[in-house]
C-alpha cells in the first residue's frame, strides 16, 4: 500500500513541486497520474522509491516511512519496486539479456536461476528472440518493453512507470499499456504517470490529476 499524507516537496530555490498532497493507493490498484508537464508527476513517482525525500508530510510504502528511512535501507526498498524511467536508463554496453540480469546480480541469485528468471521476463514482453542483441538496435517500443522486463524480473509488488508511452506510436503505446494491465491483473500495484489523455479516456482507470503540485478534485 502507498499512502501520502500532507506531502510537500520543495526544491532549493523555492520551487514548490508538490504541496499538501494526500492520497492512498491500495494493493493491486491500477492508478494513472495525469497532469501537464511540470505538474509534479515525476516528483510524486520519485518519492516512492526514495529518489527524492518529502520536505514535509509522510510517505508510506508498504508500511515504511520514506522520509525517515536510513540510506542503507533504501536498496532493499527499491528491490521490491519495479521502476520504469522516463529516460529509460538502459545500458548500451551489454546485451538485452544482461540488462535484465542486472537487478538479479544484487540479490545474489545463482546464475542458472537468475538466467531462468531473466528469460521468463523477456518472454513475457516478447523480446526473448532478441536477448543477445544490443538494446541500441531495438525500436522505441522494444526498448520500452525491455525496461518493463528489467523492472519486473525481481517480481516486485509495485510497478512505477514515468511517461512509459511518451515516445511511442499509438500501436506500441497500446501494447505497453496492455502489459501493465496484465501485471495489474495478477495482483501488482501499478502507478503510471502520463499526459496522454487518449490513453486515459480509453482505459478509464482511477486517475490522480495533478495541477501545480496539487490534486485536482
Amino acid at each position: 500500500m502507498i499512502s501520502f499524507s500532507q506531502v510537500r516537496k520543495s526544491y532549493r530555490g523555492g520551487h514548490e513541486a508538490l504541496c499538501e498532497l494526500s492520497f492512498k493507493v491500495e494493493d493491486g490498484e491500477l492508478v494513472f497520474i495525469t497532469g501537464r508537464s511540470g505538474a509534479g508527476k515525476s516528483t510524486l513517482l520519485k518519492l516512492i522509491p526514495a529518489i527524492e525525500r518529502p520536505t514535509s508530510g509522510t510517505v508510506l510504502v508498504n508500511g515504511q516511512n520514506i522520509g525517515s528511512m536510513r540510506r542503507a535501507a533504501i536498496p532493499y526498498l527499491r528491490r521490491n519496486l519495479g521502476l520504469i524511467f522516463q529516460d529509460q536508463k538502459l545500458l548500451y554496453d551489454r546485451s538485452v539479456f544482461d540488462n535484465v540480469m542486472l537487478p538479479l546480480a544484487f540479490t545474489g541469485h545463482a546464475y542458472k536461476e537468475a538466467a531462468r528468471r531473466a528469460r521468463a521476463a523477456l518472454d513475457k514482453v516478447g523480446l526473448l528472440a532478441r536477448e543477445k542483441t544490443n538494446p541500441i538496435t531495438l525500436s522505441g517500443g522494444e526498448q520500452q518493453r525491455l525496461c518493463i522486463a528489467r523492472a519486473v524480473v525481481n517480481r516486485p509488488s509495485i510497478l512505477l512507470a514515468d511517461e512509459p508511452t511518451a515516445s511511442l506510436d499509438s500501436t506500441s503505446a497500446a501494447e505497453v499499456v496492455e502489459m501493465f494491465r496484465d501485471f495489474n491483473q495478477v495482483g501488482v500495484t501499478v502507478l503510471i504517470a502520463t499526459h496522454d489523455e487518449a490513453l486515459v479516456q480509453r482505459l478509464k482507470p482511477r486517475v490522480l490529476a495533478l495541477a501545480q503540485g496539487r490534486l485536482e478534485p
Partner: protein, 301 residues
C-alpha cells in the same frame, strides 16, 4: 557465507574480464606499477644477497698473527701452546714463511716479482679461527698483542663490520625509496579507479536506482585496485628476476676469479607472496580512497 563468496567470485571474474577488455590500458598500468615496485625490490634483493655473504664471513672471524722476524722454532712452539689455551680460539693453523712464499709463487701475477727477491721478506704467521662476538674479538686482539714475539695482529673481519654499516645505510635508502614508490602505486590506482568510475557512471547510477547496495557497487572497484596492484607486483618480480639473470652472468665470471661460486639468489616463495600481498593491499587502499571520494558524487536524480 556461500552467497558472499559467490558474489566475490562473480565480481572477480567480472574484474578479470574488464581488465582483458582494455589490454593496452591494463598493460600500461601494470608496467608502471611493476617498474615502480621493481626499483626498491631490486635494491632489497642486492642487499639481501650482500647481507648473507657478510653474515657468512662474520660468523667465523679470522685473526692473522704475524710473528717477529727473530722468532725461532722454540718461540713458535711455545706460542702455539699458549694460543691453544686461550679462550675464544677455536682452531689454529701455522703458516711458515717458506710456505707463505710458496703460496705467493702460485699466483701468476706475483711469480715474476717474487723471483727477483733475494731473501724471503715474509714473516711466520698463525691464522686463528675464533668464536664469540665482536667484543670478545677485541679483547682477544688485545691479549694477542701482549704476547711475546708477536709483531702484528690483524682481524680479517674488520671490513665485514664496515660492510654491515654500509648495508644498514643501503637498507634505509631502500626503505625510503619503497615508501615513496608505494605512494606512487596508491596514486596510480587512485587515478585508474577514478577513470573506471567515470566510464561506469551509467551503470552505477542505474544500479543505485534498482536496488544495488553501496557495498555491491564498491566491490568491483576494490577488486580492480587489488588485482591491478597484485599484477604490478608480479611484473616487479618478473623484472627483478630478469635483471638478476642478466647480472648473474657477469657476477659469476667475476666471483670465479676470486675462487668463489657466488651469484645472486632470488627471493623465496614466502617473500614473493608477501610482496604480492603488499602490492594488492596498496592497490586496495588506492581504490578505497578513490571510491570514497568519487562514488558519492554519482547520486541518481
Amino acid at each position: 557465507m556461500s552467497h558472499w563468496l559467490r558474489q566475490h567470485w562473480q565480481t572477480f571474474v567480472l574484474t578479470l574480464k574488464r581488465l582483458a577488455r582494455n589490454p593496452v590500458a591494463t598493460l600500461l598500468n601494470v608496467t608502471v606499477i611493476g617498474i615502480a615496485l621493481a626499483l626498491p625490490l631490486g635494491g632489497y634483493m642486492l642487499l639481501q644477497n650482500l647481507g648473507s655473504v657478510a653474515q657468512r664471513v662474520a660468523a667465523t672471524p679470522q685473526i692473522s698473527l704475524f710473528l717477529a722476524p727473530e722468532a725461532d722454532k722454540s718461540d713458535i712452539d711455545a706460542l702455539a701452546a699458549r694460543l691453544k689455551q686461550l679462550p675464544g680460539v677455536r682452531a689454529l693453523r701455522f703458516i711458515s714463511r717458506k710456505q707463505a712464499l710458496e703460496e705467493l709463487k702460485q699466483s701468476e701475477n706475483l711469480s715474476d716479482v717474487i723471483a727477483t727477491l733475494q731473501t724471503n721478506p715474509l714473516p711466520d704467521a698463525f691464522v686463528l679461527e675464533t668464536v664469540g662476538g665482536s667484543a670478545a674479538l677485541e679483547a682477544l686482539e688485545a691479549q694477542l698483542k701482549a704476547l711475546p714475539k708477536v709483531a702484528h695482529v690483524q682481524i680479517d673481519s674488520a671490513w665485514v663490520k664496515r660492510l654491515e654499516l654500509l648495508l644498514q645505510l643501503g637498507r634505509t635508502a631502500v626503505l625510503i625509496l619503497a615508501t615513496l614508490l608505494a605512494c606512487a602505486l596508491v596514486a596510480v590506482t587512485f587515478n585508474t579507479i577514478r577513470l573506471q568510475i567515470l566510464t561506469q557512471k551509467d551503470e552505477i547510477e542505474v544500479g543505485k536506482l534498482i536496488g544495488a547496495t553501496d557495498a555491491f557497487i564498491r566491490r568491483p572497484f576494490f577488486h580492480l585496485g587489488a588485482l591491478q596492484g597484485a599484477l604490478g607486483g608480479l611484473a616487479a618480480l618478473g623484472i627483478v628476476y630478469l635483471c638478476m639473470h642478466i647480472l648473474n652472468r657477469g657476477i659469476l665470471e667475476l666471483s670465479r676469479l676470486y675462487g668463489s661460486e657466488f651469484r645472486l639468489s632470488f627471493f623465496d616463495a614466502s617473500d614473493c607472496f608477501a610482496l604480492l600481498a603488499f602490492a594488492a593491499t596498496l592497490g586496495w587502499l588506492g581504490a578505497y580512497m578513490s571510491v570514497s571520494r568519487h562514488l558519492s558524487a554519482i547520486e541518481p536524480r
